[in-house]
C-alpha cells in the first residue's frame, strides 16, 4: 500500500497497532532532521547516526505516550536532542574533548567531495569561522547550527530545546554578534 500521501498521524496510529512498515516510513521521512539535530549537538557523524537510531527506537517504544500535542517530528526531535545531550555529557565525549588537539578542531566536518563550496569554506575566513563557531558556548552554538540547518523552524527548535521562542531568537542574534566581534578582531 502506498504511504506517500499518508499523514504522520495516520502512520503513528498504524505503528501503534504494530505496523513496523508504517514506522519505517516515519523513519524515512524524519531521519535527516533527527540526524542533523544530533549532529549539531555532537559534531560527530558516527555519534549522530547512533543517537538518531536510538531516538527512533525510543520513539517506537513510547508511541503509546505520544499524545499528539505536538507533531511527531517535533516529538521525535525532542527525544533525539535529549539523547544527544546525554551523549555529549558522557564520559567518553568529555574525554574526547579533553584530548582534542586544539580549540575548534574537535568538530568533524562532513567528508564531502571537494567542490567549489568546500574550497571556499577551506579558505581563510571559512577556517576562522569554523574555529569560532566551534568555540561558541554550547547553548549559542546549538541554536545557531539548528537554525542554519534549515530542517527545523524556530518554533520547533524552541519546543525541542524546551526554551521560549524569544530565547531562541536571542541566542541566534547573540551568537552572530559574538562571531562578528571576533571576526572584527581578526580584521574582517
Amino acid at each position: 500500500m502506498s504511504t506517500s500521501g499518508v499523514s504522520d498521524s495516520e502512520l503513528v496510529e498504524r505503528a501503534r497497532r504494530g505496523d513496523h512498515a508504517a514506522f519505517g516510513v516515519l523513519v524515512d521521512r524524519h531521519r535527516t532532521s533527527a540526524f542533523r539535530a544530533a549532529l549539531a549537538a555532537l559534531g560527530s557523524p558516527d555519534d549522530a547516526e547512533d543517537i538518531t537510531q536510538e531516538a527512533f527506537v525510543a520513539a517506537f517504544r513510547h508511541l503509546a505516550d505520544f499524545r499528539e500535542q505536538a507533531s511527531f517530528k517535533t516529538w521525535l526531535l525532542a527525544i533525539a536532542w535529549r539523547k544527544a545531550l546525554t551523549r555529549r555529557r558522557s564520559v567518553k565525549a568529555m574525554v574526547r574533548r579533553f584530548v582534542a588537539p586544539a580549540e575548534g578542531t574537535e568538530w568533524e566536518f562532513p567528508d564531502r567531495s571537494r567542490g567549489q563550496e568546500r574550497a571556499l569554506i577551506d579558505s581563510e575566513l571559512g577556517a576562522h569561522l569554523k574555529r569560532l563557531i566551534s568555540g561558541l558556548s554550547p547553548k549559542l552554538r546549538d541554536v545557531l547550527l539548528l537554525t542554519t540547518s534549515g530542517e527545523q523552524t524556530y518554533e520547533e527548535i524552541a519546543v525541542m530545546l524546551g526554551i521560549p521562542l524569544g530565547t531562541v531568537k536571542w541566542r541566534v542574534a547573540e551568537s552572530r554578534r559574538q562571531l562578528k566581534g571576533k571576526l572584527a578582531e581578526l580584521g574582517y
Binding site: H20, F23, G24, V27, R31, G126, S149, K180, Y188
Partner: protein, 239 residues
C-alpha cells in the same frame, strides 16, 4: 557513510567576496556565517537507517536482558568497592586489627573464669595456713591459673593465656591491664563537734523603770521627742 546533497545557493558569491578582501559588509559576514554553520551539519542520514532501526526494534526484547548487563555489572562493582572501603576502614581501627582481635580471643577464655569466680591471692596460702583466704576477682591479672595455680609455683605471666608467643614481631606487647581507680571525692574529714555542758546560770535582774522616765532611752529617741512637729503633720503623726 553518508551522502551529502546540498546547494549553498547565493551564499557562495557572498562568501567569496568576504574571504577575498577581508572587508566584506555585515550582510556578507552574515551569509558567510550561515554558509559555514550550515556546512557543519550538512549531512544526510544514511539510507540504510530504516532497516537498522527496524532491526533494532524487532530485536529489542532479546536485547533488553543484555542491555541490563552493563548496569548490573556497574552496580556489582560499586557494591564491591563500597564493601572493600568499609572493610578497610573497619580494620584500620586499632581495636579491630586482626592481631588485636586474635589476642583478645586467646586471652578471653583464660580470663573469663577469673572474672567469674574468686581467685586465690597466692597459691601458697592455702597450703601453709589452711585458711580459705580469697580476694575479689580482678585484683590480680596476668597470674597463672589452672593447673599451675594449685602448685607451689610462684605467680608468673602465662604466655599461652595471652597469646603473646603466637604473635609476630609486629604484634604489640601484651598491654598492661588498665586499672581504673574509682572516681569520687575523698572522704570528708569532719572534726568531731563537742558540746560542752552549760554551766551555772546567773539570775537576770531587771530593774523597774518608772513611767515617763527618759533615763534609759537612747539619745536619738530623746532628740526626736525634743524637736517640734513639722508643719502639715498632725500631732499624732509627729509623735
Amino acid at each position: 557513510m553518508a551522502d551529502t546533497t546540498r546547494d549553498s545557493g547565493s551564499g557562495i558569491s557572498a562568501f567569496g567576496k568576504a574571504s577575498a578582501d577581508k572587508r566584506g559588509s555585515e550582510s556578507q559576514i552574515d551569509e558567510a556565517i550561515d554558509l559555514v554553520a550550515r556546512e557543519m551539519t550538512n549531512l544526510d542520514a544514511p539510507a540504510g537507517m530504516r532497516a537498522e532501526v527496524l532491526a533494532r526494534i524487532e530485536s529489542a526484547p532479546s536485547r533488553t536482558g543484555f542491555a541490563l548487563l552493563p548496569r548490573l555489572a556497574t552496580a556489582v562493582s560499586l557494591a564491591v568497592i563500597v564493601l572493600a572501603v568499609a572493610a578497610v576502614l573497619w580494620f584500620a581501627r586499632p581495636a579491630n586489627r586482626p592481631e588485636t582481635v586474635a589476642a583478645i580471643n586467646h586471652s578471653s577464655p583464660a580470663q573469663a573464669p577469673r572474672a567469674a569466680k574468686p581467685e586465690t591471692r597466692s597459691s601458697e596460702t592455702p597450703a601453709h595456713t589452711g585458711l580459705a583466704s580469697t580476694t575479689p576477682a580482678g585484683t590480680r591479672t596476668g597470674a597463672a591459673t589452672g593447673p599451675a595455680a594449685g602448685g607451689a609455683i610462684p605467680a608468673q605471666p602465662d604466655q599461652n593465656a595471652t597469646g603473646a608467643a603466637d604473635m609476630g614481631p609486629a604484634a604489640l606487647a601484651q598491654p598492661e591491664p588498665i586499672v581504673i581507680a574509682a572516681l569520687g571525692p575523698d572522704a570528708l574529714q569532719i572534726p568531731a563537734i563537742g558540746v560542752e555542758p552549760i554551766g551555772d546560770l546567773k539570775p537576770i535582774t531587771i530593774q523597774d523603770i518608772p513611767v515617763g522616765s527618759t533615763e534609759n532611752q537612747s539619745p536619738s529617741i530623746r532628740k526626736f521627742e525634743d524637736e517640734p512637729a513639722p508643719s502639715g503633720l498632725c500631732a499624732e503623726q509627729a509623735h
